[in-house]
Subunit: 117 residues, 2 copies
């Protein structure tokens, strides 16, 4: 009788890297909340600080900079007095809309199952 051989091995490990890459740009406690906030329209700095529960200005600033580096977020400075800074999703940032929405859907259904915390 022949031994069964699992052939899915390489397929599996091949998926890990792309997902890790995706998670890399989304890593950080506030990345997703920030992206959600911007999904619903352009926002100013102070506006986001109020809208995202518990975030500090330091964290907002830091993670916005990282998102901008990775071209998910665009920063526009209007040279008025006082200065106005507006953040928006790039077209590329909007490519995450669907993913985030599904994450939210899954999260809603999952709430009742969460054990720890």
């Amino acid at each position: 009788m022949k031994k069964e051989v699992i052939k899915t091995h390489s397929t599996c490990t091949g998926l890990i890297q792309p997902v890790s890459d995706a998670l890399y740009v989304l890593s950080g406690k506030w990345k997703i909340p920030i992206l959600i906030s911007l999904t619903f329209g352009n926002k100013r700095f102070g506006q986001m600080a109020k809208e995202i529960p518990k975030i500090t200005e330091k964290m907002l600033s830091k993670e916005l900079r990282e998102l901008e580096l990775n071209q998910l977020v665009k920063r526009t400075v209007y040279d008025t007095i006082p200065v106005v800074v507006e953040y928006s999703l790039t077209e590329y940032g909007h490519s995450l809309d669907k993913l985030i929405f599904e994450l939210a859907t899954w999260g809603s259904e999952h709430r009742k199952r969460i054990i720890g915390k």
Copy 2:
């Protein structure tokens, strides 16, 4: 003339919590790689340790336990000598398949854009 009221505000903040919940059960450096590995079939402990690049046995053990707590992974012990332990995705765990696949797709397209790291 009536003032326009932005109604998306509450929708936005309302989305943050479910997504945070979803991310909570997936938090940890190895959760997603582990889930990917199990997506392609049931696995034994040592098998996963070899299959997931760079993971240590401690981390594998710890994160598997958390995934089991949250009912995403099922652990089956076969009472042989030496003992055999098999891990598999629960039906609920498989509800993440689509999300993970999309994350991988997005990650693949995104590779060329990643700046930092």
